[in-house]
């Protein structure tokens, strides 16, 4: 990043190779849409280029990058309509029937994925950062500008709420159609 800041712009390609998959994974889980996530990754690196002079070399580069990604996502949905979510069939592109256990597991996973997308954005973000990005509590606290203790409390609440939505979807599959993301019940 130091080289990019100094004007060696093609070095941004190295940073892209190193971080774009992690960013894409974060953004696709947050948006539920692969093409929106690709656009956003692109936007993140364009912003890195634009704001390269603001990189101070303090703290972790990854945290800075994810801060940019969070802003890019917020701006993206401020000006665009939400796109269609990930096609569930993408999990099993062949469409071939699955054995009983696998089928049940596959259905559970699809339901859990649906529950995750129904979870309020700030809660989903915590789960994605901690579970999928394996971010340390300190890094999450730094990214969100809160204390480590508060991160723990919020993760606890987020997972409890996720489990509740997951169970409700099992009891009443049409539950999600009458409940928007923002109106999920809190526990």
């Amino acid at each position: 990043m130091e080289a990019v800041r100094a004007g060696d712009l093609p070095k941004l390609g190295i940073l892209f190779e190193r971080h774009h998959r992690a960013l894409f994974d974060f953004l696709v889980r947050m948006t539920g849409n692969a093409s929106a996530a690709e656009d956003l990754v692109q936007d993140v690196f364009v912003r890195v280029l634009k704001y390269r002079a603001t990189w101070r070399g303090e703290g972790r580069f990854e945290t800075w990058l994810f801060r940019i990604a969070r802003n890019a996502r917020a701006d993206y949905f401020r000006t665009r309509p939400p796109d269609a979510p990930i096609d569930e069939a993408a999990e099993h592109p062949s469409g071939a029937p699955l054995p009983g256990d696998l089928l049940a597991r596959s259905r559970d996973l699809a339901r859990l994925q649906q529950a995750l997308l129904l979870l309020r954005e700030d809660k989903r973000e915590l789960i994605v950062l901690a579970r999928y990005r394996g971010m340390k509590l300190e890094a999450i606290a730094d990214l969100l500008g809160i204390e480590v203790g508060a991160v723990k409390v919020r993760i606890h609440r987020a997972v409890k709420e996720l489990r509740d939505i997951f169970q409700r979807l099992d009891e009443s599959p049409s539950w999600n159609t009458t409940n928007s993301v923002g109106s999920c019940p809190t526990t």
Binding site: G7, L9, P10, L12, G13, F16, E17, H20, R21, F24, D25, V28, R29, A34, S35, A36, A37, E38, V41, Q42, F45, V46, L49, R80, P81, D83, A84, I86, A90, E91, R105, D108, L109, L112, Q113, L116, I127, A130, R131, Y132, G134, K136, L137, G149, K152, V153, I155, H156, V159, K160, L162, R163, F166
Partner: protein, 250 residues
């Protein structure tokens, strides 16, 4: 993954049984996969952006030459040489005009105006010449350079429209849409954008064109956008953006 176990991330006072229960949900989350990104396409787009930004304020020619490789360096210097020669010819012509024997001394304001016109035509010529190059990177540079032209002629607009319709490179077509924004008040540009959104094969370009039509409040595009929304063969993201566009255009 580092955080396979949830209990490590919870506050100390959480009941053990509750933590174990939540841990099952946490472990199950690990089974949700995401599709892989199209890394090659994303990288190509980023490289085009880097290239455009990098050359908007070119570094010292020697550094640039070695970084870009010999072939591209030769092309760059050919264009630069062409531009320098054209400037020399323009300078001589202006000098002769000013010094011509027996003629009344030219009025300095008209002389400056004439020189400005020469320079503008020269810049235009370089942009147009770059847009005709075989390399997509050069064509992209040509499109970007048109943004620096003060009063581009109709020829530049035609070249941009031609690139929008026929350039084989997606990045060039995307850059063209940006470059055409300043000509959005022209009827032919808006008409071409409507035509292009129907003809384009690339969803990225189609989406950029829909955004262009919304930004320029082009209500005449409504029937085309409606057709896209209703066509099941059209990419889902494009249909969704077209629906949004229709909503925006009211």
């Amino acid at each position: 993954m580092e955080h396979d176990k949830l209990s490590r991330l919870l506050p100390d006072d959480v009941d053990r049984r509750e933590a174990d229960g939540l841990d099952a949900t946490w472990r199950m989350l690990g089974g949700i996969d995401t599709p892989p990104p199209d890394s090659d396409r994303m990288r190509a787009r980023l490289d085009a952006v880097i290239d455009a930004v990098d050359h908007a304020a070119p570094p010292a020619p020697q550094q640039w030459f070695f970084r870009q490789g010999f072939g591209r360096g030769i092309r760059f210097y050919a264009v630069q040489g062409f531009a320098a020669a054209a400037m020399l010819v323009a300078g001589i012509a202006i000098g002769r005009f000013a010094m011509s024997a027996g003629a009344p001394p030219p009025d300095s304001a008209s002389e400056i105006a004439a020189m400005r016109t020469e320079m503008r035509e020269l810049r235009e010529m370089v942009s147009l010449s770059l847009m005709q190059q075989q390399s997509a990177s050069d064509r992209l540079k040509g499109v970007t350079w048109t943004g620096q032209l003060e009063r581009p002629s109709g020829e530049v607009v035609s070249a941009l429209l031609d690139a929008l319709m026929h350039d084989p490179n997606v990045n060039v077509r995307l850059a063209t849409i940006d470059a055409l924004e300043r000509f959005a008040s022209r009827e032919d540009v808006r008409r071409a954008a409507i035509e292009a959104v129907d003809r384009q094969m690339s969803p990225l370009v189609q989406i950029a064109l829909i955004d262009f039509l919304v930004k320029t409040n082009e209500r005449q595009s409504a029937p085309t956008l409606r057709r896209l929304v209703q066509d099941p063969r059209v990419n889902d993201a494009v249909r969704s953006r077209a629906a949004w566009g229709l909503q925006q255009l009211g």
